[in-house]
């Protein structure tokens, strides 16, 4: 078992990628993802990681090269943020449809305009429907652990879908935290070599990416969707096995002091740490507030989620992204929809907070919880509201 050492999270993520023995990395620089790929280039340059590092000329080419590489049978990694992820958009849909299991770390950052290098989830929420497995890390240790998990699950022959690990830009990617990197032997035990059933090989020719005429397009999409939904079991099982090898336990949905709670705050990503402090304070003040955190966003952990929140009176969903003119933040709309058919479901209040690097404080969480309490008595006027905006 490795030692806990203070490390910048980006560096630790790159070290984890190295331990996964990736064969090909194709990436383009964009803040705040740069420290990950810089460190990987260094590892390749020093011969510590035997891989090809393709210094592509754009993110569009980064993901395109990744698909070519993984289709040829190489374990493949990339990383990006914000505008870079948006530039990849077109190709992101093609990876899961062709069942090409690339792993990508997204250091989440706001989308322009106004141009902002700071953190929110606007970039990844625009990629909600791409069909990739998507997880959100709360802290540095989890970011690292989710990388091993992502490769393990994505490349599983029952899965064969690409995976994104989301880490909050700067507020997580640039933090220095005590992180335990496991021994190589543990990683090797957890992550078998990549052996895809189908690959580009002249000894066994096949055609990838053919035309889907109307007579087969829907069948192809149905097959993709069924496979994606059934990947859920493998994802959860891989976390069971993760515990056996590494000793840390992960679930698709996490809770904090949720037992007997009336109001639950729901969040994804590293802000959950602040939210926990807020919960502690509110609990001390006698308020029955708890926390729900979605670690797995796609495929959506529907059953586990409903089971977790069904006893609550109110769920206050904190979105880090804005869907202008929608019926709520992207996570809130999803959650409302998930709960709609549940008898005695909790009410859902939608808050948009922390856009473009705006700090979300313990007091902000307290304010949102208070409003959520208030909305139990009086219906909100608007389907969603922004928190922390200067008037």
């Amino acid at each position: 078992m490795g030692k806990r050492i203070a490390k910048e999270v980006s560096i630790a993520v790159a070290e984890a990628v190295k331990q996964c023995k990736v064969d090909v990395i194709a990436a383009y620089p964009i803040t705040p993802q740069t420290h990950i790929v810089e460190h990987l280039s260094e590892l390749v340059a020093n011969g510590e990681l035997d891989a090809e590092y393709i210094t592509v000329e754009s993110e569009h080419s980064a993901i395109s090269a990744c698909l070519g590489s993984v289709a040829t049978g190489a374990r493949t990694f990339t990383s990006t943020s914000s505008q870079g992820l948006a530039l990849m958009h077109e190709i992101l849909f093609i990876a899961p449809a062709l069942r090409l299991p690339v792993v990508m770390v997204v250091a989440n950052r706001a989308l322009s305009a106004p141009i902002s290098i700071w953190n929110d989830h606007g970039d990844i929420m625009a990629e909600r429907d791409i069909g990739w497995i998507q997880t959100f890390a709360e802290n540095g240790q989890e970011a690292v652990d989710l990388v091993y998990h992502a490769f393990r699950v994505a490349e599983d022959r029952r899965v064969m879908f690409p995976a994104i690990v989301n880490i909050d830009g700067f507020t997580l990617s640039h933090m220095i935290e005590p992180i335990e990197l496991p021994d190589q032997e543990q990683v090797d035990r957890y992550l078998p070599p990549f052996k895809p059933r189908y690959k580009l090989d002249p000894r066994k020719p096949l055609s990838m990416g053919p035309v889907g005429i109307p007579e087969i397009y829907m069948e192809a999409k149905k097959a993709q969707d069924e496979a994606f939904k059934s990947a859920y079991r493998v994802i959860v099982k891989a976390w069971d096995e993760f515990e056996e090898v590494f000793g840390r336990r992960y679930h698709p949905v996490e809770t904090y002091r949720l037992e007997d709670a009336e109001v639950g705050l729901l969040i994804m990503g590293s802000l959950a740490e602040t939210a926990m402090s807020a919960v502690d304070r509110m609990r001390e003040a006698g308020k029955r507030v708890g926390l729900v955190r979605l670690r797995l966003w796609r495929p959506f952990p529907l059953r586990d989620f409903v089971r977790t929140v069904r006893g609550l009176k109110m769920l206050a969903v904190i979105d880090r992204a804005l869907s202008p003119g929608a019926t709520g933040g992207p996570v809130a709309t999803e959650v409302r929809s998930a709960l709609y058919q549940v008898p005695g479901r909790p009410r859902v209040a939608s808050f948009i907070a922390g856009l473009g690097g705006r700090d979300v404080t313990v007091e902000d969480f307290e304010e949102m919880a208070d409003r959520a309490y208030f909305y139990l008595k009086k219906k909100p006027k608007e389907p969603y509201e922004m928190i922390g905006v200067k008037e």
């Binding site: 210094t55 592509v56 990744c66 040829t72 049978g73 090989d201 990838m208 990416g209």
Partner: protein, 313 residues
Amino acid sequence: MRKELAKFKGFSAKNLPKEEPFAPGHRACQGCGEVLALRLALKALGMNVIAISATGCMEIISSPFPYTSWRVPWIHIAFENAAAVASGVEAALKVLKRKGRFPKNRRVDVVAFAGDGGTADIGLQALSGALERGHDFVYICLDNEAYMNTGVQRSSCTPYGAMTTTSPPGEKSFGQMTWKKNVPAIAVAHNIPYVATATPAFFLDLMNKVKKAALVDGPAYVHIYSPCPTGWGSKGEDSITLAKLAVETRIFPLYEVIDGKYYITRKVTKPKPVEEYLKRQRRFRHLTEAQIREIQERVDAEYERLLRLAECL
């Protein structure tokens, strides 16, 4: 001459490969010059190939699931990224060979195909990136001088004066009002070891150039002129004639650029007038005598420039 090419004797009618990596039964139009170029290029490369196609006519006609014309491993991802996908394939082969997960001594040629739109317009950035990075692969542009797959819209490779659906002649237009982009020159500017032009009318020349492109270490670019009866308004049976005339009028000269040095592979000493080429195609039918003269002058000047390049360097 590069040492990788020293042993290559060239194809002749006697030693043509038997294999057809590209199978018949595809859905290309009658008289398609592009699919002929594609078939010949693959025939030159053989079966130890991984092919990447950009979106376009050749991708559509060759892969209507569950059918495929590709007897070699083939992948299509999108329109503008064939060169980037090829970069990934090449890098993967390299590292897998190094790590012993692919037979070290097995030669595999990585070849990317794209049309003129996928090369000169939307795919130019990905192409430039891949050429600059020095991947060992062949990029083949099958140039039919417009976006044929979407219904004959103009590209930057559409010739001056040509009528397309987005460069229609009218009161204020005579068709395409810009001169064809010189993509081979752009490829040459990347200092890659091999660049060539070819047409299916001179099929041995085409096959030899594609083979040489594969044999050199590093990136190679082959620009293949590909007649399109549907888009050009020409007769299907005229495709080879047009491909020949394009060379004989000096409109599409055949040359190679090896390590930056230009070689004209088919010198045209007694050129035919461009009109002979233009008049066989509906896309040029609206042109006036003055416009044809303008094209003639430009073609003459371009050929002079090419001759100087071939002499000086």
